[in-house]
């Protein structure tokens, strides 16, 4: 392994590492525009020039591989001057429209100018004009005057989404980033280009002009959009939701996890948060009277619902549950206990097979749109769609007196008359969920749960990786996490679930369910942990395979 010296720090790094990577290991940040660790290295922007002893010219740190004995000066006068000049060159034709640019505050032109630019501007010529505010796709707007031609977005479309919509046209300082003629940037991963664009050339149509980034708070979470469980950050605008059409979530951003999603997320996941502050959110428990929902307090609602369940139990009639893999492990574990201990039912399906086969690919997007099917299975739920079909048949045959449905809209998985025929035969349908849907409309009681962004918990992705989600915004007033709803409901039957935080539930899971052995919220960290089978981590082979999928 080569030993090198960077700005006086000596370190030994792996063969094949580049200077920029080695410097990072030594805690030295070298500026970069075109370099992105998830993309091919091209050495185009030249902002990372450093001085290397015995080499006559400055070298780009992103492309130069370390060699034993190399002595690198990141901050020699010569290197500093060159980087300053590259920055000055980048601004020669830049419009500097920061006041109206969404990137301001997270822009690497602004950032580096403050760090090491600070030159006296010499440029007095007219700037070149290029296209502005071009909607290049459903999610992305391009301002090519702001583009610094780092080609990160081009490489993303070539190498990651493999759709090649973008290219650089023309030459010299007339070079311009644009979609190829007749193409739009509409691949399932298109908005990642916004994240990797170091400047305000590519911005999100959804986020555009809504909030200044310095008003945003960031919370680590996991995307609930499919079984992959891509790591994300939830950016919230709690202080100024009125600037954001009343939405508290401003945007989702991918969060690096080499074991799951690398640097990327899909567009379905990215824009899948809109339901959180949607009009369909349920803000109070509801009871149906004369065909109309009436709001009522939680205490009243729990009393009524427990009354209905009690009547059924006392008369020896079946109370059945349809759980959901949208729920966290904590929610599901509380549900399992409620089923087992209160209702004495052990057979709880969670999966509704959609009528239309959902989109999936061999990169991140999985057919299973639930974030926690694997978790449900490990916690003892029946994740086969057939189990749900059987439950509906039982309903149709009049064998179910009370049915508690979590989240599902059955109409997405069954024909309309099939659902109606089944639910008609059920005496009381209790719906627990965050948003009203056509199935909820048919329920007698509705209990509002909060969304994934409003609670702590864990999801287990398809590969068995248990990952933590965190409360980014407070639960909408009137809504509760399912585990809390179940705790309170159990209380009505004199069962005590001694949980005060989601973490208490998780501790219990770890104690009782072998797959979760050795885990804790703390141990899960930012990247999650793999569940174990028979005391061993789930097959490495499976995980390896997943890795190659992610890194291609």
């Amino acid at each position: 392994m080569p030993t090198i010296t960077i700005d006086g720090k000596q370190l030994t790094v792996d063969e094949g590492k580049t200077v920029i990577q080695a410097a990072e290991e030594a805690g030295i940040y070298i500026p970069r525009y075109c370099y992105h660790p998830g993309l091919r290295i091209v050495g185009q922007c030249r902002i990372c020039l450093v001085e290397i002893e015995k080499m006559p010219k400055l070298q780009v740190a992103c492309y130069t591989r370390v060699q034993d004995g190399m002595v690198v000066h990141v901050n020699s006068e010569k290197a500093k001057r060159a980087r300053q000049q590259v920055l000055e060159f980048l601004l020669v034709n830049h419009p500097i429209d920061c006041p109206v640019c969404d990137q301001a505050g997270e822009c690497y032109l602004q950032e580096y100018y403050m760090q090491f630019g600070l030159y006296d501007p010499k440029m007095v010529e007219d700037k070149n004009k290029k296209h502005k505010a071009v909607p290049v796709g459903p999610h992305v707007v391009l301002d090519s005057e702001r583009c610094i031609l780092c080609t990160r977005c081009v490489r993303f479309c070539d190498e990651i989404s493999k759709t090649s919509e973008l290219g650089v046209f023309h030459r010299g300082d007339h070079a311009e980033l644009l979609p190829y003629p007749g193409r739009t940037l509409d691949n399932p991963y298109s908005a990642n280009v916004v994240d990797i664009c170091p400047v305000g050339a590519l911005t999100e149509r959804d986020f555009r002009f809504k909030v200044r980034v310095w008003y945003l708070d960031e919370t680590k979470s996991v995307c609930p959009g499919c079984a992959t469980g891509c790591n994300i950050e939830i950016h919230t605008s709690k202080a100024r939701p009125y600037k954001n059409e009343g939405r508290r979530i401003a945007r989702l951003k991918p969060r690096y996890n080499p074991d799951v999603n690398d640097y990327w997320i899909c567009d379905y996941g990215r824009y899948g948060f809109l339901f959180v502050d949607d009009d369909s959110r349920i803000e109070q428990p509801l009871v149906k009277q004369n065909g109309e929902f009436q709001e009522l307090s939680w205490d009243d609602a729990l009393q009524m619902v427990s009354g209905v369940i009690n009547t059924a139990l006392e008369n020896g009639k079946a109370v059945r549950i349809l759980g959901s893999a949208q729920m966290t492990n904590e929610d599901l574990y509380a549900l399992k206990r409620f089923g087992n201990e209160v209702l004495e039912t052990h057979d709880i399906p969670v999966t509704v097979k959609p009528l239309e086969k959902p989109y999936s690919d061999d990169f991140l997007i999985r057919e299973d749109k639930n974030p926690n099917t694997r978790g449900a299975a490990l916690l003892g739920f029946d994740t086969e769609p057939a189990a749900t079909e059987k439950l509906l048949t039982a309903c149709r045959n009049g064998e179910v007196y009370t049915l508690i449905i979590f989240h599902h809209d059955l109409f997405k998985g069954f024909a309309e008359d099939e659902v109606k025929a089944a639910l008609d035969k059920v005496d009381s349908v209790i719906f627990v969920g965050s948003n009203l849907n056509p199935t909820a409309e048919l329920a007698s009681y509705v209990l509002p749960s909060c969304t994934w962004a409003e609670k702590d918990g864990t999801f287990t992705n398809y590969a068995g990786r248990v990952q933590k989600i965190n409360e980014a915004i407070e639960p909408l007033e009137g809504s509760l996490p399912e585990w809390k709803i179940l705790r309170r409901l159990a209380r009505q039957f004199d069962h005590t679930f001694a949980y005060f935080e989601a973490e208490d539930v998780f501790r219990d899971i770890v104690k009782k369910v072998p797959a979760f052995t050795g885990m804790s919220y703390r141990a899960l960290g930012d990247r999650g942990m793999l569940v174990s089978e028979n005391g061993r981590s789930v097959q490495q082979a499976e995980v390896k395979e997943e890795l190659t999928v992610v890194s291609k």
Binding site: I41, V42, G43, Q44, C45, R46, I47, L49, P56, K57, L58, Y63, A82, Q85, V86, E88, F89, L90, V92, N93, K122, M123, E125, D126, N128, I148, L149, G167, V168, H170, R171, G172, D173, H174, A175
Partner: protein
């Protein structure tokens, strides 16, 4: 083209695009000889001849060939650079249209030496008629068993293809050329890997200039020593000088590389019209820094010119008489590099355009004295900091003109006119 001396010039003058004419002058004997040698012996011979790349960089040709990995499992390619676009350079054109078979013979020998069975000739798009002549000569070679499955009846196969460029100077840079040849946008590649290791289609590839290859048959025929002795210790033979600008007889002259600029200009190119004095001479294509009239007793050769801070480059000598406005010259030159910058890397993309704008403003009489320093700073910011040497090619003239003729530019900035020798007094008075 009055000369009959030389190596390639006699071929050019006797229409060696026609096979018979070339054969009458002993054509293809060298290839036969080379094919009976081992590839290593051929490389050794070329190396000893001190033949250096005549496309501009002057890299020793034999040494370059030796970089190709032996027994590569991938195919090896020879690529002939006929993009000839450096302003002031017009020699390859004569070779491909008049000494065509010498080039083909050079291609055969080089391919054999490096183990290539496919050669591509990348020719600039503007050379339309020239490409036709080249194609005809190649066809004639195929028809006569000189190319194809059995080259000259020997156990060596070689196919040669002509590929026309689309009119970009940058596609003369060898890695941009390879990208273009692969059907991509002509953006130079990062190095390493160098083409000899990973070139066309990621296979070992040697890129050589037309003129470089055209000399190879004669080195094989007459021996390395014969070629080396014409030149200096490190640079062999003769080369084709393209003389243009203010001379009485502009044209291509083939002379030993030891010939001085003064001899070339005055003894061969007929001196300056109207016996005017020389103000500046660009010795090796428009990217080479200019020399003053008192610096012309230097051999027009790689190492000697390098010592003076300029380059022998592509052999394009541009002569400017005393009445030439150097601001105009530098503006035109800079405009060319701005126009031809591929736009891939920041300093060249933005710097060339910026310098072009400043120079044009100065030319229109809007110059400011600080522009002179700014130009120098911009050029220094480009120099050495780019992906390919086009950035340097754009920076060197700016730095070069300002180094040797700064007063010309200051005069334009201060007085909106060319320097007339009274600058010092005026400046002092101002």
């Amino acid at each position: 083209m009055a000369e009959t001396q030389g190596i390639l010039m006699p071929l050019i003058q006797s229409e060696c695009q026609i096979l018979k004419n070339y054969r009458d002058r002993g054509g293809y004997e060298a290839a036969k000889k080379a094919l009976s040698m081992t590839p290593d012996e051929v490389i050794q011979e070329v190396q000893s001849s001190n033949l250096r790349g005549l496309g501009g960089a002057g890299f020793p040709t034999g040494r370059k060939w030796a970089f190709v990995p032996k027994n590569s499992s991938k195919p090896v390619y020879l690529v002939v650079n006929c993009d000839e676009s450096e302003p002031g350079t017009f020699k390859d054109k004569y070779i491909i249209t008049r000494a065509t078979h010498a080039l083909i013979e050079g291609i055969i020998i080089a391919s054999y030496a490096i183990g290539a069975h496919t050669a591509y000739i990348y020719i600039r798009g503007e050379y339309v008629r020239q490409a036709e002549v080249l194609e005809q000569a190649i066809q004639e070679a195929y028809d006569n068993g000189i190319l194809g499955k059995k080259v000259l009846g020997k156990k060596f196969s070689l196919d040669v293809y002509v590929h026309r460029g689309a009119g970009a100077y940058i596609c003369g840079e060898e890695t941009a050329l390879l990208e273009s040849l692969e059907g991509k946008k002509g953006w130079p590649r990062m190095k390493p890997p160098f083409p000899a290791i990973e070139g066309l289609f990621r296979c070992p590839t040697i890129v050589n200039n037309v003129e470089t290859l055209a000399y190879v048959p004669f080195i094989i025929k007459n021996g390395a020593r014969w070629f080396a002795e014409m030149g200096t210790e490190r640079s062999g033979g003769m080369r084709l000088y393209c003389v243009s600008g203010h001379v009485n007889k502009p044209g291509v002259y083939e002379l030993p590389v030891t010939t001085t600029l003064r001899e070339i200009i005055y003894e061969h190119a007929g001196g300056v019209p109207g016996n005017k004095k020389i103000k500046a001479v660009v010795p090796g294509g428009s990217s080479s820094p200019p020399l003053r009239a008192d610096e012309l007793d230097v051999a027009a050769e790689f190492d000697a010119l390098m010592k003076l801070g300029t380059m022998a480059g592509s052999g394009g000598i541009i002569v400017m008489d005393e009445d030439t406005c150097l601001l105009e010259i530098l503006t035109v030159t800079t405009h060319f590099y701005h126009h031809e910058s591929c736009g891939q890397c920041t300093p060249c993309r933005e710097g060339t355009g910026w310098m072009d704008k400043i120079l044009n403003r100065m030319l229109s009489g809007e110059g400011r004295i600080e522009d002179v320093d700014h130009l120098e700073e911009i050029a220094s910011g480009i120099m050495g900091n780019t992906i390919c040497p086009l950035g340097d090619a754009a920076a060197m003239p700016v730095l070069g003109y300002l180094k040797r003729f700064r007063e010309e530019f200051e005069s334009h900035a201060l007085y909106k006119k060319c320097f007339d020798g009274e600058f010092a007094e005026l400046k002092a008075a101002s």
